[in-house]
Amino acid sequence: MNRRAFTALVRKDLLLELRGSEVVLGMLTFVVAAFVLFRFGLGGGRPAGGTRAATGMLWVAIVFTAMLGLSRTFAHEREHGIWDGLLAAPVDRALLWLARACSTCLFLMAVQVVALPAFWLFFLQSGPAPDYVVLVAAVALADIGIAALGTLVAGLASAGRAREVLLPVLFLPFAIPLVLGAVSATTGTIPPQTSGLHTVERLGYLALYDTVFVLFGWGLFEFVVED
């Protein structure tokens, strides 16, 4: 793998984001607004389903937030016609995918650094503290899955008419198993433990999800960008 090219591509995304800071800030505002909306929608109380219902809301909000960010995937390249420059360069197409997926993953994590504590304040602060190590692992694994698949799907959506509508439509069927896995893993970190599943099994499922779609992204991105 061409590590220098990979680093340069990720650095480019981060620099553009630092200068323009349109994606991360937009996502952050959106996710916090979604929490507020949930809070008022529930009449100001804790969700009746307890911890599980709360984490369910959390992950639904995160998936929609991620979609907002993913709609800006390759936006610079598209708007300024830079794709031809990247495609003409002697780098593996899979590397272009990997670099972009990594940037997306970093953006998501940056949003969550603020969003997760905010969620805690909004919905769970009266409850017991979670197992932080497992929680961080679960969130990171879910983010990798979202970024890996999302980057590929964003590429597919970019060619269609009504790109903004197509991206969520293409992504959501894959978000269902992801949300199920992430909710199960996150709930498992917050006592009391109600289920017989081990932490390893819950995290293992997310790791499996990541492995499958990382392989798909790595192998199939070429067919999405080359015309």
Binding site: N2, A5, H76, G81, G85, A88, A89, D227
Partner: protein, 210 residues
């Protein structure tokens, strides 16, 4: 064994949906030639350059750059090709230097070459400025610096003189006059390239016009 043609197209076809932008192009160029591609809008000039730049794949027919068949051996052909497209292929949000740093990494070119590349196109004092602040002429000069950063043996330029100021034209002429390269330029103003060009190919409706 004779060295392969710098560029060889045999019955090259490229379709976009139903429309054939290139409809059987035959073109053979020896190394070191300087070819102007002319023709009306929509004749297929840009498509031809994009296929040769390995940006889009041919639909049918054979095309090879320095003996590397496209798209199969595109990975081997890419380091040999420099491409100046319609757009400048640079990020407006980055500085000139950062753009070249990115492409130097992609092409595996040592970072020290960036200074001389900027100097070559007269942008050495603008390296730390964001490309968004550049005039069309400066952006075009940066695009040329980007395209020759890795010293390609085949240089493809799509309408390089469009919107270029007199300084830019001077720089472009200097770069194009450098020996040892095969150059293909699509253009609407062939007279400007007098003294550089060795041949002219006229495209009409996706074919080479006789």
């Amino acid at each position: 064994m004779p060295s392969p043609d710098a560029v060889a197209c045999n019955g090259l076809v490229r379709r976009f949906g139903e429309r054939a932008a290139l409809d059987g192009v035959d073109l053979h160029l020896a190394g070191g030639e300087f070819v102007l591609v002319t023709g009306p809008n929509g004749a297929g000039k840009t498509t031809l350059l994009r296929v040769l730049a390995t940006v889009i794949r041919p639909t049918a027919g054979g095309v090879a750059v320095a003996g590397h068949e496209l798209p199969r051996a595109a990975t081997k052909a890419r380091p040999l090709i420099g491409y100046v497209g319609h757009a400048s292929l640079t990020y407006p949000g980055l500085t000139a230097r950062e753009n070249l740093e990115l492409y130097a990494a992609l092409y595996g070119v040592p970072g020290e070459r960036i200074d001389s590349a900027l100097e070559r196109v007269g942008l050495d004092d603008r390296g730390r400025d964001s490309v968004a602040e550049f005039s069309r002429g400066m952006a075009q000069r940066l695009a040329v610096a980007r395209a020759v950063l890795h010293e390609p043996s085949l240089l493809l330029l799509d309408e390089p003189t469009a919107g270029l100021d007199s300084d830019g034209r001077e720089v472009l002429r200097e770069v194009l006059a450098e020996p040892g390269r095969t150059v293909i330029v699509s253009t609407h103003e062939p007279p400007w390239f007098e003294g550089l060009a060795t041949a002219e190919v006229r495209l009409a409706a996706g074919r080479v016009a006789a």
